[in-house]
Symmetry: C2
Subunit: 258 residues, 2 copies
């Protein structure tokens, strides 16, 4: 998809960049002082290769240790991009970030504000597996009742205010989210996958939901208790936060076909 | 499978143990001074849990960094093993080793000498992938011609002496191996898998074969040149040694059904 649009005021062109990263190598997506972030690493690579000071705006933020299989960002540039920019970026960037695609968009398109929905996956290894230690939650000492966890998923659709699964002291105006999908499936014999889609997610929300669902899976709490937890609008009512290294941002939806 | 056999001389029972390990955490399988090995880690765990000095004999050795999806070893014990030994071992052992099964065998069964064949897999990521950095060879800067690599595989079956792919200065009596299977397949869109089976493998053999085949895949050498390489019986004739972290021992065959 190529949309011709040279902004008359700034003389800049807007591009989307599609990439993945292994969260283990970064202190989250967002740039911050004295820590290596995905944003800073990408901005540095683009600035060097384009010989122009580049700032990127991500589709969202992921916390330290959280992965992204498919993440989007936009940036503006005065230069026309060379056809070989993607392979050159991949050679320049560390092994922990892979760039898939870069394409031009309308100047009013925004990686964060134009996003209509986001999808996350969470992986749990239900048997001890030396090869998934850093890519899934190793939860094999107790059995998980997947049916009970899926019962709790159904209840999520009835609510909009997910304050109970939000990190305390954030500056969100509202804690309203519209959950469109939430399901646990046995991906492989020893691997459980949770998929959740919503228009937006609160900080730490997926990990708090997964932590709570695992307590339902081990029968510590009943599926229907998730109602009380949500209605209390209090993070302390919910379960623990699941480890970051099992969580993947897997898709961001826009109203064009990427 | 349970075979009753109490050795009259030693009063000991022989057990097979089936396990996997992530090679990144170990300096190879074999015990050695001042380095952490799989063998020493397993022997330590068994010695503590069985309260008896346990020595294990592995089906073979894997070099530093090489993984095993399914490895076998045997050990002798004077004790009857508790039914919950496998979960107790998994709790005691580090995340980098998983035990699947422990079962009694005839006293004359030997993890190494009773093995009839071994199978290895080697994985190559043909696109940059932040999630397979430590589990496959990242080879995405140049294209690999899989057909040429499989042509070379066919030639392997014609030979028995694989000195050209053996680490120099080993104390093997012969360098003869009977290769039973050797094939490259596109496992996933971005993942190439090499499977090789033989009655035995020389030290470093699979990695030397893979390194040579990759030079065939990039058209640096022709598939039929593998004949000259083998016939020279000289390691220097072959290609580079592929990185250890793409290599997995995946099966050891015995004449009973495990």
């Amino acid at each position: 998809m190529l949309i011709e649009n040279l902004d008359k005021n700034t003389n800049k062109l807007r591009y989307f960049i599609v990439f993945s990263y292994n969260g283990a190598s970064f202190f989250g997506f967002q740039k911050q002082p004295n820590q290596i972030s995905v944003q800073e690493t990408l901005e540095h690579a683009l600035t060097i290769l384009l010989r122009e000071n580049i700032k990127i705006v991500g589709a969202g933020r992921t916390d330290t240790g959280v992965h992204a299989k498919k993440m989007y960002a936009h940036f503006d540039t005065q230069n026309n991009l060379a056809a070989d920019l993607v392979p050159r970026l991949n050679s320049f960037l560390p092994p922990s970030i892979a760039v898939y695609n870069i394409f031009q968009v309308d100047q009013d398109f925004h990686a964060r504000f134009s996003a209509l929905h986001r999808t996350y996956e969470y992986y749990i290894s239900t048997h001890k597996n030396p090869f998934t230690e850093n890519s899934s939650w190793q939860f094999w000492r107790r059995k998980l009742e997947i049916d009970a966890m899926n019962e709790a998923c159904e209840i999520l659709f009835e609510y909009k205010d997910f304050t109970s699964f939000a990190k305390l002291h954030t500056d969100n105006k509202t804690n309203f989210c519209q959950i469109k999908k939430a399901i646990w499936v046995q991906q492989e014999e020893e691997l459980l996958k949770f998929t959740i889609s919503a228009d937006r997610f609160l900080r730490n929300m997926v990990r708090a939901i997964v932590g709570t669902m695992v307590e339902i899976g081990t029968q510590k709490i009943k599926p229907e208790n998730i109602r009380d937890i949500i209605e209390k609008k209090n993070r302390n009512a919910a379960g623990i936060s699941a480890p970051a290294h099992g969580l993947y941002l897997v898709e961001v939806g826009y109203d064009f076909d990427i």
